[in-house]
Amino acid sequence: MRIGVFVCHCGSNIEGTVDTAAVARAALGFPEVALATDAMYTCSEPGQDAIVQAIREKGLSGIVVASCSPRMHENTFRRAVERAGLNRYMFEMANIREHVSWIGKDREANTNKATELVRMAVEKLRRNTPLFSNKFDVTKRVLVIGGGVAGIQAALDCAEGGKEVVLVERESSIGGKMAKLDKTFPTVDCSSCILGPKMVDVAQHPNIKLLACTELKSVGGYVGNFQVELRKKATYVDWTKCTGCGQCMEKCPSKKSEDRFNERIGVTTAINIPFPQAIPKKAVIDPASCRHFLKGKCGVCAKVCPTGAIDYEMKEEVLTEQVGAIIAATGYDVFDISKIGEYGAGRYPDVITSLQYERLLSASGPTGGHIKRPSDGAEPKTIVFVQCVGSRDKSLGRPYCSGFCCMYTAKQAILTRDHIPDSQVFVFYMDIRAPGKLYDEFTRRAMEEYGARYIRGRVAMVYPQGSKYIVRGADTLLGTNVEIEADLVVLAAGAEAAAGAPALAEKLRISYDPYGFFVESHPKLRPVETNTAGVYLAGSCQGPKDIPSSVAQGSAAAAKVLALFSKDKLESDPQISRVDIKRCVGCGKCILTCPYGAIKKIDFRGEPKAEVVATVCQGCGICTSTCPQGAAQLAHFTDDQILAEVNALCRF
């Protein structure tokens, strides 16, 4: 090998504390180094040209650049050496800026350290081999998991982009949390009026295949070629026949089914269409409360159904879909307020969540849009809102801010005063977080125009006294205790990761944080990508989000998918693991530990061997450190390459 070493001054960034010329001189003494020089700005156009020229003129077969972090410019230089006709992997970087010149001023020590880092890079490069990507076909269909507003947006954008979409939703209708809202902040426009048309678009779009009452069972394959198994739950109603007429609901004698859509405020019929604007508008039987299932006789719905759609024998089905990309848009759940004993939720019927209150406000809700106390149906006159319930609370393991509670509480304060003009509204808050467009103005309106009384402080306790509730808290601005006699207490319950999110993440082979929210690839620069190629995130599954952010992320994820699908062939990263079949003894330890299921057992002349599925492997190298025979080797980070670096440091 003929190696060229380029030591960068980076202006004075490196040269200021490192004698780059001395580093270059020392590098000339390293094995197989044919050329070593220092340069002002290696990454600049002339700098790159110098590398290209040196490769051509001096017949170099490998390049080391000692400059900034490879996380900064590795790709820049790889492209440069490629322009000169070398393989992009015949290149190494020594990070002498972030790891040397910027962290100390001792020029002697820095120069020495920089020289050693160059030696390491040279020793590694000597063991590098050209690596080549594979090309493979892309299935241009996308799976969107979750039919909330983020999923709907992502599905519509992809469909509009001409790609087929499979949209799966766990509930019987899409719409998600937004469908449950009465109005939205800061415009106070009707939530279902703006979401409804989008839901209809989903139902009618020729490119969208909507699967409600369906969950993800398993994911196999890799970017461009996922095989997805979907579990379609038994609805006991044949949806191809159901017209959504609702006669079954009218006649159903069992009215004890929990009303999930209305956040369990009241009950509903065992056969049910959750809300009038449901998409698909199809009935579902809840076998937990249906008399047919509980007692073995009833059959009223089957009798009244004009299309004969009822099918008590229906079984769960497993469907298989081929897709090239997956968007997870599984949303969030509301914090379980009964976990806070001092507020008495669960014991006191009139201590409710904001989302339950939203249903009380909604004209399609259980009270027809009239605010009534769940306990006695009376109209409350004094309503206390408590913010940050299950948010920003380390003791509950919920240290994060849910982000949208300040805003919806202000909205609900305003709506309360609209609905019951003679009501008194109190809001306990820690800080008002309203950084969005028109947001702060909106909270001000709640206080100033609508007379909501904002009290800065936490609520210590809620307890009943007669038919009222005493809300005891602190007013930290006045430095006093306050006690308010309330008719209704609304807790602004924070967002938490949707139930089952970690399990889903494991199926999708993506990371999740300690709270169960999915982790994006980069918090700033890759907010909708995950570390698994081909899997994207939209909406609150990544962290609590309000509607505009969710919609924006839905569109962003769709854009990523469309960009991915704009190529007919994808290239795999060649920095993946390979198994030397001659060394492999087929013990299967790599298969056990691979987080991607990227290694499979094969039969080679009657002997078990491991084989890496190149397109699934993400290049973590766990198999390499697991394989005792050194048969599995991660290309570009092989045992020999790392040993060369260790030896470069320890032998001298």
Binding site: A26, S69, P70, R71, N95, R97, E98, H99, W102, I103, G104, K105, D106, A109, N112, K113, L117, R119, M120, A505, R509, S511, Y512, D513, P514, V519, N531, Q575, K582, R583, V585, C587, G588, K589, L592, T593, P595, Y596, Q618, G619, C620, G621, I622, T624, S625, P628, Q629, G630, A631, L634, F637, D639, L643, E645, V646, N647, L649, C650, R651, F652
Partner: protein, 487 residues
């Protein structure tokens, strides 16, 4: 060119690309001043870091090794640091047995945004290494006097017992006889070249069965042969310890349950031929001159050079048999009786106790003196029932090139570390490595130390549950007994 003498020490860092390398970059961007000793090797993931890289560095000149990866749950590859955490923690527990101060190795988690934290990690680790000073080198250590005596002073313990050992053989033969027609081979033991040396027996016919013997001279682990006989129907006679190897092989799917038939024999301890040799030499003769030997309940009676010598089992039993928890097969298709286990009380072996009593310096010197004898025959490895790589062991490979042909003590010791690390969480402490060693090098100590770590960290014993996954091939998001992150 090297570290700046007097100013720096040799500190090697292994950082994952996604979090910690980024964190170090961020620290640079933020101009967080750090000591200059550390040299960083970039790897994709902390899960890529083979603990052997760290030992390699520490044995070959590093004064300290620092590993840093993504915080648990933040791994770019979702699970890499979970595996790394287990493996690195185990290594930390293992290093002292080599005489390497575990404080010279640390692993921690730093995210790409934690510049300040990175600065603190580098500074405090560098400071720690400077406090420790340059590491002592294997080649430069000298053995203190009287170490052997200290070894000998440590008491052993209780042996398992089986009062009916004498009558078991016939029952075993009957049972094998019954199943032999359906089996290709049954592995047992027979008398070897002299009265003290038994040797593994491969029975193919009823005639072979007559050669079968039972007793404390059946020192070999019959499970060792199973992986190489895969595909055949094999019967195997096992002692309790052998059965744990069978279980471990099943755990790792290296043998097929349906193809093996296990005959479990209750064991009341086996002899250590080296101990007998030593005892005979003290009496002026040697194991090579043994004319007859008889093993009874009370011990071993040996005739050599016309004289008779009696040894109680306690004098000549293998160390592993003291406090034996599993004198009966933990898994058997045919269990020929039961022995009563000795009380284990969680006591550690004599060997480990002796190591614990040594200073780190002494341990290193001890290995230097012991490994010097190693002839690199790899009998330790080939006798190990779990060394399934055998023909493809990295000790003899040029690619990857972990170990050279130079017969330095460092290279020889490195191989033993490879063996210990590769069997970590898998080793059942059957002791075959040490028993097989023709030079009597006490290499089992390394595995014992490793197993102690595995027990403490994962409350796990290899080869006791066929369904269990070896702990280093698994992880928990929250590790009960690992409390990392001291930096």
């Amino acid at each position: 060119m090297s570290v700046l003498t007097g100013k720096e020490l040799r500190i090697v860092g292994f950082l994952c690309n996604w979090c910690s390398y980024g964190g170090a970059d961020t620290a640079g961007v933020g101009r967080f001043v750090q000591p200059t000793d550390l040299r960083i090797i970039r790897v994709p993931c902390s899960g890529r870091i083979d603990p052997l890289f760290i030992v390699k560095a520490l044995l070959n000149g590093a004064d300290g090794v620092l590993v840093s990866g993504c915080h648990p749950r933040d791994c770019h590859y979702s699970q890499g640091n979970f595996y790394a955490r287990r493996r690195l923690e185990v290594l930390k527990h293992f290093l002292p047995v080599l005489g390497i101060d575990p404080a010279r190795f640390e692993y921690t988690w730093v995210s790409a945004s934690e510049a300040q934290r990175w600065q603190k990690v580098v500074s405090s680790f560098t400071e720690r290494i400077h406090k420790l000073g340059p590491a002592s080198r294997l080649e430069n250590t000298a053995l203190p006097d009287g170490l052997e005596k200290r070894f000998a002073a440590i008491a052993s313990g209780e042996l398992p017992s089986d009062g009916k050992a004498a009558t078991r053989l016939e029952e075993l033969k009957d049972r094998i006889h019954e199943f032999l027609p359906d089996l290709d081979i049954v592995i047992g033991w027979q008398r070897g070249f002299d009265a003290l040396h038994n040797t593994p027996l491969f029975m193919r016919s009823a005639e072979d069965l007559e050669k079968l013997v039972w007793g404390p001279l059946n020192i070999h682990n019959t499970a060792t042969y199973l992986p190489s006989l895969r595909g055949k129907k094999v019967g195997v006679v096992v002692k309790g310890c052998d059965s744990r190897s069978v279980v471990e092989l099943l755990q790792e799917k290296l043998v097929d349950r349906e193809n093996i038939v296990v005959f479990g024999m209750p064991c009341s301890g086996i002899v250590d031929l080296s101990k007998i040799d030593r005892a005979l030499r003290e009496r002026g003769t040697g194991i090579g001159r043994v004319q007859a030997a008889e093993c009874g309940e009370k011990g071993v009676t040996i005739k050599a050079g016309g004289q008779e010598y009696r040894f109680a089992m306690e004098e000549v039993a293998a160390d592993k048999c003291f406090h034996c928890e599993y004198p009966n097969a933990v898994l058997a298709d045919h269990l020929i009786g039961n022995a009563s286990p000795s009380s284990s009380n969680g006591k550690i072996s004599r060997q480990l106790a002796a190591f614990d009593a040594m200073s780190l310096q002494e341990r290193m010197a001890y290995w230097r003196s012991q490994m010097d004898r190693c002839i690199r025959c790899h009998a330790c490895r080939n006798a190990c029932p779990l060394c399934v790589c055998k023909d493809h062991c990295i000790a003899q490979s040029r690619d990857p090139h972990w170990i050279s042909q130079e017969d330095t003590i460092t290279e020889k010791l490195m191989f033993q570390v490879v063996h210990a690390v590769h069997t970590a969480g898998r080793c059942t402490e059957c002791g075959e490595c040490e028993r097989a060693c023709p030079m009597d090098i006490p290499i089992l100590a390394m595995k014992r130390q490793m197993n102690r770590a595995i027990r403490e960290l994962f409350e796990y014993k290899a080869g006791t549950d066929p369904e269990a996954v070896p702990p280093l091939l698994a992880f928990q998001a929250e590790e009960k007994n690992i409390h990392e992150g001291v930096l």
